[in-house]
């Protein structure tokens, strides 16, 4: 078709042609393994999928602060308390990196927060389980953060660059989370009393199956998986990641001296992987649908935090506006100070800090 013919085409048709062209270019970039940046053209479905996935991921980090936060005041030693505080603070930071990545897609932070608080948005169902003993904190580090790392490492190569960059940062920090958990459990298993070892085993028994569910439904029943793979949002399938996690955990459990609560767990030399028992997906569906042990408690805690913090957010904004209005206005004739060329010069920062 000639340019002239395109100009003569009705407006909608023109737009449709352009869209098809843009789509084609987008697909080619995905196929070439290119990264997509925030301001690049992208199909609406790609954008929606990312907003859903990244915001759910962010909500999971924020809600994930609650089960462990529960133990900060009860940590057995000052060392463990400092570690736990640092870890929970990290989760808050991870939530922030992820919200920021989702915001680049045109959804505001308040919109995402509202979706979480109303129960409309989902978060990882693992955080709807309670932390009943101190050993749960170590077990979350070992199994829950371990599963999260398995899931997250491939996301550092996600086609959407702001998400990939956020995940690089998250993964760098997450490794400390898993190691501190394992070390905490190992200390109890090797230097603890019989009661403490029993406590560790009980925690592992309770967290094992929910951890396996963190990888999502089996590939055959995961409707979004194929499209996400096609778009380079997802790189490795749910089942492949789950198998990798199980194989790694068997070895780690042996070092720890705990058993994993699955009688069917057995090395299969032919597959070069462990066989394992059936996962109770009805439990997963029930917890996702809102009927887990702590769904209501978690959501209530987030709502209370949001409402209790409202006056602080409003007061900070009011203060900032007042200060802005009081600040002496620069005379229009004054030369611009500190342009881009000045940014690297020593003194500029000190001047601004004064």
């Amino acid at each position: 078709m000639t340019t002239q013919a395109m100009d003569l085409a009705p407006k909608e048709e023109h737009a449709a042609l352009e869209e098809a062209d843009l789509q084609q270019r987008f697909d080619a970039r995905i196929d070439a393994g290119d990264f997509i940046e925030a301001k690049d053209w992208m199909p609406e479905h790609y954008r929606k999928t990312l907003v859903r996935q990244i915001s759910q991921h962010a909500h999971s980090e924020i809600v994930g602060m609650l089960p462990e936060g529960h133990w900060i005041t009860r940590a057995p030693t000052l060392k463990r308390k400092a570690i736990l505080l640092a870890k929970v603070q990290d989760e808050g930071g991870h939530g922030l990196y992820l919200y920021a990545a989702a915001e680049t897609l045109g959804t505001s932070r308040d919109q995402m927060t509202a979706a979480l608080l109303s129960g409309q948005a989902k978060y990882s169902s693992i955080f709807n389980y309670p932390t009943l003993s101190w050993a749960d904190v170590g077990t979350i580090g070992w199994l829950v953060d371990g599963a999260a790392i398995m899931n997250q490492v491939p996301l550092t190569r996600c086609s959407y660059a702001p998400y990939a960059r956020a995940m690089v940062r998250v993964c760098r920090e997450e490794s400390f989370h898993q190691r501190q958990g394992f070390e905490s459990l190992l200390t109890m298993m090797q230097q603890g009393t019989a009661a403490q070892r029993e406590m560790v085993q009980d925690a592992v028994n309770r967290w094992w199956w929910p951890s396996l569910m963190m990888f999502g439904p089996p590939d055959a029943e995961s409707p979004h998986s194929a499209q996400s793979m096609r778009w380079g949002i997802k790189r490795i399938s749910n089942d492949a990641l789950r198998q990798k996690f199980i194989d790694a955990c068997v070895e780690q459990a042996a070092v720890l001296g705990v058993s994993l609560p699955d009688p069917a767990l057995k090395w299969n030399a032919e597959r070069g992987a462990h066989d394992f028992g059936a996962i109770d997906w009805s439990e997963f569906q029930r917890v996702v649908a809102g009927d887990g042990p702590c769904n209501r408690e978690r959501l209530a805690a987030r709502n209370t935090a949001w409402e209790d913090g409202a006056w602080v957010r409003d007061a900070a904004m009011a203060h900032a506006r007042k200060r802005e209005n009081l600040a002496p206005k620069m005379p229009a004739t004054s030369p611009p100070r500190g342009g881009a060329s000045d940014l690297g010069r020593p003194g500029v920062e000190r001047q601004e800090a004064a």
Binding site: R109, D314, M317, A320
Partner: protein, 96 residues
């Protein structure tokens, strides 16, 4: 939620150590510049990642349009003479 009360967005730049450039590392919401610096320190330098922080309101950043990428940057493609490797010199002086 009242959208006008959402804290504005800031971009954060961190200098990893003396002698290096400030590098963009992410963004955050803060009510004013002072709080933005404080929050940037809390969020982006928890493991000694920085010795200095810049923050700037996101809406103050002017960026090139991705649609202009070809127009802006492709013309440099055929200017190989701007690179030192373009010039073949005798071995004796090739360290130039």
């Amino acid at each position: 939620m009242n959208p006008s009360n959402e804290w504005p967005l800031w971009e954060v730049f961190v200098r990893a150590k003396a002698g290096l450039d400030h590098k963009h590392c992410g963004s955050l919401h803060a009510p004013d510049a002072q709080a933005a610096v404080q929050l940037a320190r809390d969020v982006y330098t928890r493991r000694q990642e920085g010795t200095s922080v810049w923050v700037v309101r996101s809406n103050q950043i002017v960026a090139s349009d991705p649609g202009d990428k070809a127009m802006l940057f492709d013309p440099m493609e055929d200017k190989v003479y701007r690179h030192p490797t373009f010039y073949v010199l005798p071995l004796a002086v090739d360290h130039l």
